[in-house]
């Protein structure tokens, strides 16, 4: 089946995926073996389940290979079976499907996040996906699905790897999102990506269907689905859970009935979902009920799904967006692009970059963000003395501290490719000339990595007249459209040339006007105008005002020049527009600001000042702890995101250590916490984040690791005598172990407070298991620990 044939099939009505595998295996009694190993140890169980899905009406069957990538299998200690698990996964599904269903190779998370949220390199994660996709492809899957991914960068790496293996088979890309607490807030992934950033990026990447799955039941996932549908033009897919799990007779069960599942899930087909199935807790009976209900309404509002499949669906607001992992930034009404990450004529700055000292870059990023930049331009200039690693590292560092999208002014192709490979969202590529070679190269990068492009009004030379530049741009756009790059992804640069070299600025202004009339968005490198001139600021400001008056949409400019910025805002007012200022953290606490910005040196200065009047202990327990509390609240209110929270906790560690060294008394922690992931569960990321945030909050944290049997946890509690034990369980199959540990601690008469968390836990289960508390995120865990130990804010 080709991709075109697949999309054509979607025009006829929705395709049904299957439901869960893990929870069905668990129900069948396979509780102590990784689900994927059943392909080898009990293939008949997998086959029978898949046959039931076919009988229920599934017409896309997934291979039982959800966790079968090398990184995940290594954590389960079954790495050596990777080839066989994937091979048998395909063969079993093909046998069960016969000619009644397509077989899609199922790929999910490695269980680790790529840097900077996690520790693994992007290359390692990419290689793991590449290896798995290659086996699945070799044994003949009809297509691929990437699902249950919560980190946008990991998803992008999976897509790139699959497309490297095969770009002729259909690919469904799905992420998982938490529900938002407020109707005005966007649902976000656990790593802080709003659903609209995901949807918008997927418009560019080489995937056929875009969707969401897991975490939420069909009722709750509807609002996430609705939001996604507003930001992607691609066909949509959705796989909700069967509601929230309950504990029944000591076993964790998803109890949403097929009727309830189908009534709510069907709404998403009516709102345009082209592919639908079930995730955790769903079985053949859920798929059957859904199919019955949807089939009763063959023509009910499904036209949107058809149009998406045909490629004729267009979003109503065709605004051009750029994004970081946490923010979607519209170019409209105007996008000031910070120009100062540019070491031209600054030898010391150049040396710092060469030596991987990116502190100044990070400071400049933060400064420009505060000044009101909407994007950050990265222009190192000194590319001859740099390596791909420089670009990789700077993208990772900026991803960690800045919420702004990046503009890559990188001339060397392999450096640009490295930066794009590391970038998690939708960047701006600066720039292409109107030559066949330049356009082909940039179009290829845009198609692979996504993004927008600055198109220069020049070919081999620069046209002297406005008409010449206008025609040059239009010729370039025509060529890019021929290469499948929409004009909505282009910012045309009419070229600003130096006044000092007798260039006529009126040519640029007229070109802006002509392009604006044609509906083409424009940008320019403003500061070039006054190069070598006296009164640069005045010249730049006057020219910007005139350009905005003629329709300019963006400028690479000095956002620190407040006069220029004011005139930009005033000019926008005159054309009836207001610059939408990005949301800033509103805090009067300098510690909070420095912690959020990762400014360790600045924090040391602040500490020096505090030490003049307070003891190290007072600073540690009152000043720093208070700042971390405020940061926790900002996170809870969704003003900052998970990467900010982790950065703040990381930044606080050396500061706490310094204060402890200065203190006369022994190390003063507010409490001691032992953390562990329970037996059979190898998910570690959430627990690590909780540990980092608790440390940042003044707790002594002893993390004994993952897949810990109850006895090991008991021993650790006896050894370390903590105030609190934190237990993590991600999987429905392991959540019962939390109760086991809780019971064991009670049997031994140990007086310790138990808290729990993880995707499969909830407040009610925690209470039933005998835990004193539950939290679904790191910030909540810190708050909970403070409450349990009665620590005052």
């Amino acid at each position: 089946m080709t991709r075109i044939e697949f999309l054509k099939r979607l025009e006829d009505g929705p395709l049904y995926l299957d439901g869960s595998y893990g929870t069905q295996f668990f129900k069948a009694g396979y509780t102590d073996i990784p689900g994927e190993m059943l392909n080898l140890k009990a293939p008949e169980v997998v086959f029978e389940l898949q046959k039931k899905y076919i009988q229920a009406g599934s017409n896309i069957l997934l291979t039982n290979t959800f966790s079968a990538n090398r990184i995940k299998l290594a954590s389960l200690k079954i790495e050596e079976y990777i080839d066989e698990i994937n091979k048998q996964g395909v063969l079993l599904a093909k046998k069960a499907a016969g000619n009644k269903a397509f077989v899609f190779g199922d790929i999910s998370s490695t269980g680790e996040f790529p840097q900077p949220v996690g520790d693994l390199s992007s290359r390692k994660i990419y290689d793991a996906f590449y290896e798995q996709a290659k086996i699945l492809d070799q044994f003949g899957v009809d297509g691929f699905i990437v699902e249950t991914i919560s980190d946008l960068k990991e998803l992008k790496l999976a897509i790139l790897a699959i497309r490297e293996i095969n770009n002729e088979k259909p690919l469904i890309a799905q992420m998982t999102f938490e529900k938002s607490d407020h109707h005005l807030q966007s649902p976000r992934s656990v790593t802080g990506t709003p659903v609209e950033v995901f949807g918008n990026l997927m418009n560019d990447l080489d995937v056929d269907v875009v969707g969401i799955n897991c975490t939420l039941g069909p009722k709750e996932i509807y609002s996430v689905f609705e939001k996604l549908s507003q930001y992607t033009e691609k066909p949509l897919s959705v796989e909700p859970n069967a509601g929230d799990p309950d504990l029944v007779n000591g076993r964790l069960m998803y109890r949403m009935t097929p009727d309830e599942f189908s009534v709510y899930a069907a709404d998403m087909v009516f709102q345009g979902a082209s592919v639908i199935g079930g995730c955790c807790g769903t079985g053949p009976e859920h798929i059957e009920a859904l199919k019955i209900l949807v089939d009763k309404n063959p023509d009910f509002v499904y036209h949107e799904g058809k149009n998406r499949a045909r490629g004729t669906y267009q979003l109503k607001d065709c605004i051009s967006f750029l994004s970081s992992r946490t923010q979607l930034i519209p170019v409209e009404p105007f996008a000031p692009i910070g120009e100062r990450i540019n070491p031209a004529s600054k030898k010391r700055f150049q040396d710092e970059i060469e030596n991987y000292d990116f502190k100044r870059i990070l400071d400049l990023a933060k400064e420009q963000e505060l000044e009101g930049a909407k994007l950050l331009d990265i222009n190192f200039g000194i590319e001859k003395i740099l390596s791909p690693k420089h670009f990789k590292q700077v993208v990772i560092e900026l991803d960690k501290i800045s919420s702004l999208p990046l503009s890559f002014d990188i001339q060397t192709n392999k450096y640009l490719e490295e930066a794009l490979f590391e970038y998690p969202a939708r960047p701006l590529i600066n720039s292409a000339r109107v030559t066949e070679k330049s356009l082909n190269r940039k179009a290829s990068l845009l198609k692979r990595h996504g993004g927008m492009l600055i198109l220069l009004a020049m070919g081999k030379g620069i046209p002297e007249t406005a008409e010449g530049r206008f025609h040059q741009i239009m010729e370039g756009i025509k060529e890019l459209e021929h290469l499948s790059i929409s004009r909505l992804r282009i910012l045309a640069d009419p070229l600003v040339l130096s006044l000092g070299a007798d260039n006529d600025p009126a040519v640029t202004l007229k070109t802006v006007e002509m392009l604006h009339k044609e509906g083409i968005k424009t940008t320019m490198g403003l500061s070039n105008l006054s190069f070598g001139m006296p009164e640069r600021k005045a010249i730049n400001a006057a020219f910007l005002a005139q350009s905005i008056n003629r329709g300019l949409d963006s400028a690479i400019m000095n956002t620190g020049d407040r006069q220029l910025f004011s005139i930009m805002k005033g000019s926008l007012k005159l054309r009836g527009q207001d610059l939408i200022e990005p949301q800033q953290v509103d805090t009067k606490n300098p510690f909070v600001r420095s912690l959020l910005n990762g400014e360790i040196e600045n924090l040391h200065h602040l500490i020096d000042e505090e030490l003049k009047s307070k003891s190290p202990l007072e600073i540690s327990q009152q000043v720093l702890a208070k700042a971390m509390n405020e940061i926790g609240e900002l996170y809870a209110e969704k003003i900052i995101y998970l990467p900010h929270l982790i950065l703040a906790a990381d930044t606080s560690k050396p500061i706490f250590e310094r204060l402890n060294e200065l203190s006369d008394t022994a190390i003063q922690f507010v409490g001691r916490v032992v953390l562990a992931t329970v037996e059979g569960d190898v998910h570690d990321i959430g627990k690590k984040i909780v540990g980092t945030v608790l440390s940042g909050g003044g707790f002594e944290v002893i993390d004994i690791g993952k897949d810990k049997i109850s006895k090991e946890i008991l021993d650790a509690v006896k050894t370390y005598q903590p105030d609190i034990v934190g237990l993590s369980a991600m999987m429905t199959t392991t959540v019962g172990k939390v109760k086991e540990v809780s019971d064991l601690l009670k049997q031994e008469g140990i007086d310790v407070k138990i808290i729990s968390g993880g995707a499969s836990m909830n407040k009610r289960l925690a209470k039933e298991f005998g835990c004193q508390g539950y939290s679904d995120d790191a910030s909540g865990a810190l708050k909970l620990c403070r409450e349990l130990l009665k620590i005052e804010s």
């Binding site: 009722k219 509807y222 609002s223 309830e260 009534v263 009516f270 709102q271 009763k296 309404n297 009910f300």
Partner: protein
């Protein structure tokens, strides 16, 4: 003596589109607000376990119909199937309860669901009959065309139906979400 058919759930679950249209959501191509969408779904789910669906049916040669009037449009048929369908009393009681307590929105939605459920049940049974008997007339009910409502009682008596009764004066059926139907076969 009539045959009794106990339908599967799939036979009487109504189309969501028809349910919403019946409830008065005209122009349903536009999206419902989230709260209303949830309410319509809650009612849809509430209704399902209340259904006690049953169909009594009898197919007889046209010469054996006795006192029952044969519609004009049945000319030339050799057999007639009479059937009485119902989704039971419990759903009607719930509608009344909502109505009495002033929860009119819920009563309206549930009533719409029940009407569409009965229609779905009849449609599906109609399809089953046509598969067996092939060429037939339209499905008719007393009260339409040249069939008087009083025919309801005659048919109920013919089928000796115990689950549906008819009011002696108004000729209305009880439970209300019931129908009496007939199809002629050539």
């Amino acid at each position: 003596m009539a045959n009794i058919f106990y339908p599967d759930k799939a036979d009487y679950l109504p189309s969501k589109k028809q349910y919403l249209l019946r409830a008065g959501f005209k122009g349903i191509q536009t999206k419902l607000e989230r709260s209303m969408l949830n309410l319509t779904n809650e009612i849809y789910l509430e209704a399902i376990p209340l259904v006690e669906a049953q169909i009594d049916h009898l197919t007889i040669p046209v010469e054996n119909v006795g006192k029952i009037t044969i519609p004009e449009k049945f000319q030339g048929v050799s057999q007639i199937t009479y059937f009485i369908s119902t989704i039971g009393r419990r759903i009607e009681e719930r509608i009344e309860r909502y109505s009495d307590s002033g929860e009119t929105t819920k009563a309206t939605l549930l009533d719409a669901w029940a009407s569409e459920s009965l229609e779905e049940l009849n449609e599906n049974f109609d399809k089953q009959l046509r598969k067996k008997h092939h060429k037939g007339t339209m499905r008719f009910s007393p009260g339409y065309s040249d069939l008087n409502l009083s025919e309801n009682k005659k048919i109920i008596d013919l089928l000796q139906c115990r689950i549906v009764s008819v009011h002696p004066i108004s000729a209305m059926l009880s439970p209300q979400k019931s129908t009496v139907c007939m199809i002629g076969w050539y």
